[in-house]
């Protein structure tokens, strides 16, 4: 270690030694928290930090310290604006001390030095972090360091209209066995298209309303890639993987779906509110979304009898190469590198406290996200929630996450742009696949394996 670095580190250490107990005198700290992709149902992503601050102040008082924490919280409903704001604010030195984002940002942001590894500030073998599911901790780990604390988990779901299925002649037994048949790969995405077309032909749902996928880019679309046999990482080398056969089958599936007129060529870009309204009104035959949409439909769009009208399954396999699957997209609490050492320590402790099962359960139940620990599922509020229990049993065990690789965004963007082009008919499936491959290989070179 160089003299300069050594001096800096020792200086920091000296400062830390003097502030081990957060100072004997009164300490006023303002912690800013930003949460991305968070609507009204997800306000506990920041409220949990407010509750944690209250607990931490009380604990400090019992220790004999005076600690006043002011939480400045901000919810961002979208992702683009939020990620732009955090990236640029970090570069300008104005970033929040705590940020709640998708785990896939860890790779990019850690590489750029926008966040610090939270494992430097909290012990993961202490309560409550030692109760968090190990697979979620893995999701928050990158380059051998734990960068964040998982804030929630989820599963992505394929939904089916029970009245529409019955109207085309499905029996209760067939509807009840659908989840298992999907899971076993017996019922595929193409079977789904036939069902959607039958619903339209019978006049149960309107034209191009048989199948209503997600209206914008999102991890949901990577489920198609997996459904047709695609893998995001090469098991042998650990590098990013682009499976052109899976990509071709995925794009072809949407070309076929539009040809069958169960979804329109211009469907992408539909407004979310329109989609939610149609779901709640029972206007779609089949659709897919997340576990958390349940809360939005019931609380915001007037869906009343979810379990009586909606069947839910894993995302069906596309063909024999693929598998029924679900992608989980856990959000994580991260600590921004702009925080001072004292702020970072307090921020990390707040995050740990906010991860207490009872506090996290408030978020899980209100927003219909899955909990982060086994013990959380025993919190009465969580345990008595039928949807979370059902989703945890049927879907969560089959869910996988997307990679934290900082270059994955390039692959993801290229795949989705190819989908857009082939879906809207701007390009043929073959050309769209070729363009996605060209984009990825040109941008990543040897860092991606093309199969």
């Amino acid at each position: 270690m160089t003299i300069t670095t050594t001096f800096v580190r020792r200086g920091i250490a000296a400062a830390l030694m003097s502030s081990v107990a957060f100072a004997a005198s009164a300490q006023d700290v303002t912690i800013t928290v930003w949460a991305g992709g968070s609507g009204e149902e997800s306000n506990y992503r920041t409220e949990a930090i407010v509750m944690a601050a209250d607990i931490m102040e009380r604990e400090a008082a019992i220790r004999g310290d005076e600690l006043n924490i002011t939480i400045d919280a901000q919810l961002w409903s979208g992702w683009e604006d939020f990620k732009q704001a955090f990236s640029l604010a970090s570069e300008a030195g104005n970033a929040p001390q705590i940020v709640v984002t998708g785990h896939e940002d860890i790779g990019t942001w850690s590489n750029a030095g926008l966040i610090v590894p939270i494992e430097d500030y909290v012990y993961f073998d202490s309560w409550p972090l030692n109760s968090i599911y190990p697979n979620l901790i893995d999701v928050a780990t990158y380059n051998g360091q734990i960068w964040g604390v998982p804030q929630d988990a989820e599963a992505r779901v394929f939904y089916w209209s029970i009245p529409a299925l019955k109207a085309i002649g499905w029996t209760d037994a067939e509807i009840d066995s659908l989840p298992q048949r999907v899971q076993d790969g017996e019922f595929t995405l193409y079977d789904m298209l036939d069902v959607a077309a039958a619903m339209q032909d019978a006049g149960i749902v309107g034209p191009e309303m048989g199948f209503a996928p997600r209206v914008s880019n999102g991890p949901d679309y990577l489920q198609y890639y997996q459904a047709f046999g695609g893998e995001m990482l090469d098991a042998e080398t650990g590098k990013l993987l682009l499976d052109t056969q899976a990509l071709t089958d995925w794009y072809q599936f949407f070309a076929d779906a539009t040809e069958m007129e169960v979804v329109s060529e211009t469907y992408l870009g539909t407004e979310w509110d329109v989609w939610h309204q149609n779901v709640a009104a029972g206007n779609y035959g089949t659709w897919h979304g997340g576990t958390w949409h349940y809360a939005q439909w019931e609380n915001g769009f007037g869906l009343e009898d979810f379990f009586g009208t909606v069947q839910y399954t894993l995302f069906p396999a596309g063909n024999a190469n693929g598998r029924a699957n679900s992608i989980t997209h856990p959000l994580v609490y991260l600590v921004g590198s702009g925080a001072t050492e004292d702020e970072a320590m307090i921020a990390a402790e707040l995050i740990a406290t906010a991860s207490e099962p009872r506090i996290n359960a408030l978020h899980a139940v209100k927003s219909a996200h899955l909990g982060i620990s086994e013990v959380e599922s025993t919190v009465p509020l969580y345990a008595e929630n039928r949807w979370l229990t059902a989703a945890s049993e049927r879907l969560a065990p089959h869910a996988n996450a997307i990679p934290n690789d900082p270059d994955f965004g390039i692959v993801w963007d290229a795949m989705f742009e190819g989908l857009e082009a082939s879906w809207t008919g701007v390009m043929s499936v073959e050309d769209a696949v070729a363009e996605a491959e060209a984009t990825v290989t040109q941008a990543l070179g040897d860092n991606v394996v093309v199969r």
Partner: protein, 465 residues
């Protein structure tokens, strides 16, 4: 700059007494620069530098880098991460070197204790370390941290504990160094046996920041999507200009010219509404106008025509909406300019033509239009540059969709650099796209200035006063 020179030159010509012979030749060849002139244009120069030159220069620099969220905007750091070592191993770095660099070795020594004491670690904690762990060795950071944590005087803060551990070991893994020199020195301590050349290569590969490259331009030149973007942009600019900014603007200006003054004033004001309405509100009104259950689909339904979200529901209607949204704003610009130009035509010409029995159409064709050449050229040039770089209203309406069918160059540049769902903001590539726009804009400006004969317009008056 040239503006100040022109200003001071003119001033000299007007106010100075007539120079003679050589002095006059010198004066014409190199106009005197007046201090007052410079002071007067200084604010403009300052603003020009801040809001035009600096952004263009920065865009030019960024365009030749691979700058992204991942590299950060400022200077990068030097970090040897496990993933980097994997990549280097794939590239041929020997297993021994990788293992040596990955090794985390810690030993509780008297020197380390002294260093920790000098670094401010509490005396109680050091006493515990010396008494209970002196001589112990650890091969992982976690190992020594666990041992330190078990001591009676261990600090409550994990951060303090980890920093204390660093006084007793050498590990370069996942440490962030500000300069190559710092990492080189750290590496020479951690793996002294590794060849200096290999160490240098590792240090080079560990840089996290942006590097200079021409890859952005190669990428743009070879991607098929580039041509689609160019085609979309040409169609968008061409259609908006010809149909609305010039076509509709001219039609309105001429129509209103022949209307009674009061009526024309009222309609002129009405046509200005799109321009004076805040953009966000204006685009929301277009959504009310074109979306499902909006005015147009409801009207179409009544008429038995296809009713759907015209803004996003089909490629053709999306294009029509996108062009109209921008066009109605542009038409008002043309209207103002053309109206002023028509009113500048001497009325006697029109009276004389009426005496000769000319019809309205003949007046327009023979008198008005020939004198509108300059304003039309101005609207075309000004609005071309404006439309080329505009993306806000497209972003707020079709957002380049459905799919990417209505995505134009400026919108794609903005999204590439600053708006990504996956968080992968490619500042370098976005800047390269913006630089292309700047170059195209400058080239068009020069062409237009030549077409305008700008030199004559701002040239020295032929008659001196």
């Amino acid at each position: 700059m040239s503006l100040s020179a022109d200003l001071s030159g003119t001033k000299g010509a007007v106010h100075a007494h007539r120079p003679t012979g050589t002095a006059m030749a010198q004066d014409r060849g190199r106009p005197r620069v007046s201090r007052l002139g410079l002071i007067l244009v200084a604010p403009a120069l300052f603003l020009l530098s801040c809001f035009f030159l600096a952004p263009v220069v920065l865009t030019g620099v960024f365009a030749f880098t691979n700058m992204s969220t991942s590299t950060g905007i400022g200077a990068g750091e030097y970090v040897i991460s496990p993933n980097l070592l994997d990549d280097l191993a794939d590239a041929g770095l020997s297993e021994e070197v990788v293992t040596a660099i990955s090794a985390e070795t810690y030993e509780i020594t008297p020197d380390g204790i002294e260093a920790a004491r000098a670094g401010g670690v509490s005396a109680d904690f050091l006493r515990d370390i010396e008494g209970l762990l002196l001589g112990d060795g650890f091969d992982t950071a976690r190992g020594i941290e666990t041992a330190l944590r078990g001591l009676p005087s261990a600090p409550r803060s994990p951060r303090s504990l980890k920093l204390t551990a660093e006084f007793f070991g050498h590990s370069v893994l996942n440490q962030r160094f500000d300069s190559a020199q710092e990492l080189t020195e750290a590496l020479s301590l951690a793996v002294p046996d590794v060849d200096a050349g290999i160490r240098s290569e590792i240090v080079g590969a560990s840089y996290t920041g942006a590097i200079y490259t021409t890859e952005n331009f190669t990428y743009l030149a070879t991607q098929p999507s580039t041509m689609r973007l160019v085609a979309n942009t040409v169609i968008y600019v061409g259609a908006t200009l010809s149909i609305f900014n010039v076509g509709l603007g001219l039609f309105l200006a001429i129509t209103l010219f022949y209307m009674p003054k009061r009526v024309s004033s009222f309609y002129s004001t009405l046509w200005l509404l799109p321009r004076i309405t805040p953009l966000v509100l204006y685009t929301i009104m277009w959504k009310w106008f074109t979306w499902e259950d909006g005015f147009l689909p409801l009207l179409a339904e009544q008429l038995g025509l296809p009713a759907f979200n015209y803004m996003k529901g089909s490629v053709i209607t999306a294009w029509m909406t996108m062009i109209s949204v921008n066009g109605f704003v542009g038409a008002s610009f043309g209207l103002i300019l053309f109206s002023g130009a028509i009113r500048a035509i001497p009325t006697q010409q029109l009276w004389a033509s009426e005496v000769d029995g000319a019809t309205r159409w003949q007046q327009i064709r023979r008198i008005i239009l020939p004198q509108m050449r300059w304003p039309i050229l101005f609207v075309v040039s000004y609005q071309t540059l404006s439309l080329l770089s505009s993306y806000e209203s497209i972003w707020l309406t079709t957002n380049g969709g459905p799919g990417k069918t209505t995505t134009v160059w400026a919108l794609e540049a903005f999204k590439t650099a600053l708006s990504s769902y996956t968080g992968n903001l490619e500042y370098g590539l976005g800047a390269a796209m913006a630089l292309v726009l700047v170059v195209v804009g400058l080239a068009l400006s020069i062409i237009y200035l030549m077409a305008f004969k700008f030199g004559e317009l701002v040239g020295r008056p032929r008659i001196e006063f």
